[in-house]
Every structure is written in structure tokens, then in C-alpha cells.
Subunit: 314 residues, 2 copies
């Protein structure tokens, strides 16, 4: 949107120059024939196949990332990874993303966009457009869009009594990494990297959709909160037998730490899911427990499991 | 994205409650069968027809809107209108939008989202998802997506020597409205409303695409800047004979005021364009001048026309 500043000044070339430098950082090597990324009022993408899947995610420096502990590029990387993970959670294939940034004068916009570009390249989700504005916060809003060829997207509302609940990996790595970084661990520490460089599980999500699972979501806010959300949406309860705690993480981090981005899956055919994962060379999913029909039954190892997880501080 | 705050607190129900209230404000009366708006990791839309068109636009309180002069709902309205206008500029039909908001505690998020909902309803571009975060700025990022059935989107790079340049209406109304508001005019003043409630010209954009125009863009930053951008992208020059100044606006406002969101069109068949507009009951477009092959020839009434328009203050 245009800022109602002095309309007579003639420095507007400056904006186009900044946008051009950033465009070079985030540009793909090759743009598919018939597509237009940048340079127009809007991006033009070749037709989507099947349902269109869309999600938007905002990350603010000082809220979502501690600038004293992490480089600015991490904000860009994590904003993209978090949004792309939402595509994974639906079983979608990424088609592209747009990124809107606000920042005070003097912000290293190039570092920020290097993080965006890195995550976009790693998830095969090209940056097709963006916007930039002056603001007091450094904030990055990433909107991703994907497609679901064939069978439709997997919702979180489809879990049924008797379904097995599974997760794609052990939990708590991102929260443990944050704890270790606060205690002085290097940026290259393995768990710190799990926090800084989350990996959206696109292949796992597409495999699960192919296996006709009933419900799926990504664990962005921690199992202790997200599982309740899945159960609420499906109008069911759950009985967990296991909590798979990642090496180096605590029980509490595994239960309530967010940003692991592992996928939570409910299916009545776990054999088919395991086979799909095996065939594609994906790590075997871990059984957590079962879905039950009584909405109020929500237990872990026989004890009631309270809602707990990230507070977004609205 | 999740905020790395104390992961043990159990107040996360609060976030879900706030989101639920806002979801009610922006919800459509009826959601098309097979679509999912909100409640999942991502929105699910039925397949798009033709090319997918995507644009993102950020609006920051204090940068894009003066909180002392305008209500907060205007920020939401204008962020949506500005983004939807980018769809109009491509000749696209809207399919939906997502909105990401950052705000400090105590912000009237409901007022903000009422503005979003109003613009979404008026442009037939439903709100299908969103995100919300604490931040120092009140900022709204709107990402719109549309489709182009049949013939592809109209780019700004297709203008050819000999094309006629036209605009969908007289210019300067939004800038004049801002000036009047600053001088004490009521929020209901006609020109102030032109500033507060811009109207994306979706019907005009689709009609122009149907008329096979060569190039199009919306005048978000003022003719004096945007026409240069169209000429740059098309590698051409222009000779303007006319500057259509809106009633109540100054020459300077018509040339350099932004946020009019009129469409600038280049076509070698203006008769066809006029007929298309007439058939659909749209206001007749106004001829501005012609496109010339010499890139450096850029004149208004025979005098060189310098670049001038909104500075986005990056």
C-alpha cells in the first residue's frame, strides 16, 4: 500500500532499487514457462492441479526470535519453514510463496531475505512476489500456496474412534535447542539447528495423504496443545501410551515445546501408512496411542492430559 | 509461528478464543461446498480455473494511515482494497484472501477486522484464513489470490508503440481527500471517502482482459510514477496529451497522488475496449495519449514528465 508522505518528492527510484536487490536474492534460477514472478502488480502462476491450499504466518523479531541469540536470517528462514509446514500438514505440494516485510530504517533486509531464500529453496517453494514497508517492528509475513492433485487435502477434523495416533518423529528438539542456545551453545549445535532450521515434512505429508489417513496437523505449538485441537476439531478424545522424547530434550519440552513441526496423524490403517513411508524412504512414524469416542477422555499413560503449549500473547 | 515464551503456561485457550471472535467477524455467510476456511493448518479452496494470480500487501498504522485522522477499521479496509486492486490490474477474478495482523496488547482487533470484512465483502473476495501476533506496530498483511479463466493475465510489460493509453477515471481523488481530511473535513466527505474506501476496479480489469488489451496496471503510486514503471517494463516511451484531473483535486494530486487505484491500460484496439466497457455498464475510459517506441520520450503536453509519486520510505 502507498504511504501518504509528501507526494512531490522524486526519490521513488530508491524503492525500486531496494526491491530489485532483494528480488535478486530470492529469485529462482529458472521460472517455469508462462509464469511471472515479480515485476507486475501480482504474480502469475500456471494453473494449480486440484484443490488450492493457502496459509499465512507472521513472525516478529523479539516475539518469535530473540535477536540477541540468533541472526536475522533465521527470522526469514523460520517464517518460511513454519508456513510451508502448514502445506505439509494438509498433504499439499508447494507451488510458491509471497513475503511481506516491515522493518525500521537500517535493518539488514538482505540478510533477512537470504534466510527466506534458503528456506524457499530447501522446500522447493519459490518466492514469487513480495512487499516491503517501513515499520517499527522487523516482521515477516509469509503466505504459501500449494496444490493437492487427486485426493483432497487432509483436515484435522477427520479423526475417528479407533484410529491409531502417530507422529513422524520424536519431540522436543526445537525447545531443547532454544534452551541450549540460551545456555551458550553454538549456532551450529545440532539441537540449536533443529530450532533455527526446522524442516517442513512435505514428503511425509504427501505420503500420508496418499495413504488416506483420516486427520493430520503439524505440531507447531506442541503436542500438549495441538493434540487437543485435533481432538476438538474431530469431536473425539484420545488415550496416549507413549510420549517419544527426542535425544537431549526433556519430557516437558517434548510435550509442550513448540516448533518441532513433526506431523501428527490419525489413521485406521497404520500398516498402509508405514508401507507408504517405507516405500518412499521416510523414517517410520511412531505410535502415540489411540483415538477414543468419548470427547472428554484425554489421557497420557492413564493420567489426564491438560492443554499446555505455546501462548501466542495476543 | 510460535513464540518461544514460557512453554509451561496453560493459558493457550485465550489465543483460540481471540481467534474465534475474529473468525466470526470475517466469516462468510456460506462457504462453498468442499472448501475449508479457517480451523485447519491451511485453507482449502476448490480448484482454480486458469492461471493463479497472487499478490501481497502490507499496511502499517502510522505509515500508511494516520491514526489521528482515521479510524482503525480504515487500515483493514485499505489493506484489502489495495491488494484486491492488484488482482483487478491483472484482469483476475478474486478467489479469496488471507490476513496476518500484528498489534500491541489493547489494540481493537475487532474494529480492524471489521474493516477487513467490509472490503472483502464488497470485492467478493472472502477471508479464508489468517494469523495474529503480538508486535509493536499495528500492521496488516493481506495476501489475495485470484484466477484468470480463458485468456491469461494482463501484464504491465506488453505495451507497444502506437498503442493508445487510457485510464478508467479522473485522478487525484484519494490525495485530495487526504488533504481535505487534514484540513478538518468529515470522514463522510465524498473525497475523504475516496481516500478511505477505495474501490478496486475488478469489473473494469476483467473487461479489459476480455478486450485483449496489451498492458495494464493499477495506479497505486500515482500516474507520474506508475506510468514510468509500465513504460520501463514494456521498454517504450509515451506522449500524454491529457491529464484528467478529478473534481476537487489539484493538477499535482492527479499526477503524483497515489491510492486512486484507477487502471492504466495500453491497447491497440481502444474501440473494442470502449465497447466492452459500454456493454457491461462501466464508465467510459479516458484517453491519455499514445505509446511511442523511443524509450526516452516521456512527455505530458509536450514537456518531459519526470518520475514522481509516493516514496515508500524503505
Amino acid at each position: 500500500m502507498s504511504a501518504p508522505t509528501d507526494p512531490t518528492r522524486e526519490q521513488s527510484q530508491h524503492e525500486d532499487d531496494v526491491l530489485e536487490r532483494i528480488a535478486k536474492i530470492v529469485a529462482q534460477d529458472t521460472i517455469p514457462a508462462g509464469e511471472r514472478h515479480g515485476g507486475d502488480d501480482a504474480a502469475v502462476l500456471s494453473p494449480f492441479v486440484g484443490e488450492a491450499i493457502i496459509s499465512t504466518d507472521v513472525a516478529v523479531l523479539g516475539v518469535h526470535l530473540d535477536a540477541a541469540l540468533f541472526p536475522l536470517s533465521d527470522l526469514g528462514y523460520k517464517a518460511v519453514a513454519s508456513a510451508v509446514s502448514d502445506l505439509a500438514a494438509m498433504g499439499a505440494r508447494p507451488r510458491g510463496l509471497v513475503v511481506a516485510v516491515t522493518a525500521p530504517a537500517g535493518t539488514d533486509l538482505e540478510a533477512l531475505h537470504h534466510g527466506v531464500a534458503e528456506a524457499a529453496a530447501q522446500t522447493n517453494c519459490p518466492v514469487v512476489g513480495g512487499d516491503l514497508s517501513r515499520g517499527g517492528d522487523v516482521a515477516v509475513t509469509v503466505t504459501v500456496f500449494g496444490e493437492c492433485p487427486g485426493r483432497g487435502a487432509v483436515l484435522r477434523s477427520g479423526a475417528k474412534a479407533g484410529d491409531e495416533l502417530l507422529v513422524t518423529g520424536p519431540l522436543g528438539r526445537a525447545a531443547a535447542g532454544l534452551r541450549r542456545r540460551r545456555a551458550g551453545a553454538a549456532l551450529s549445535d545440532e539441537l540449536v539447528l533443529a530450532h533455527r532450521r526446522p524442516w517442513p515434512l512435505l514428503s511425509e505429508g504427501m505420503a500420508a495423504r496418499g495413504a488416506h489417513v483420516h486427520a493430520m496437523m503439524d505440531l507447531s505449538d506442541g503436542l500438549g496443545l495441538d493434540l487437543h485441537r485435533l481432538a476438538d476439531a474431530s469431536n473425539v478424545g484420545f488415550e496416549l501410551s507413549e510420549l517419544p522424547v527426542a535425544e537431549g530434550a526433556t519430557w516437558e519440552e517434548a510435550l509442550s515445546g513448540g516448533e518441532d513441526y513433526e506431523l501428527l496423524i490419525a489413521t485406521n490403517d497404520p500398516g498402509r501408512l508405514r508401507l507408504m513411508f517405507f516405500d518412499r524412504g521416510l523414517r517410520a512414524p511412531i505410535t502415540l496411542g489411540v483415538v477414543v469416542g468419548e470427547r472428554d477422555v484425554r489421557t497420557l499413560a492413564g493420567e489426564p492430559l491438560a492443554r499446555r503449549g505455546f501462548e501466542h500473547q495476543l
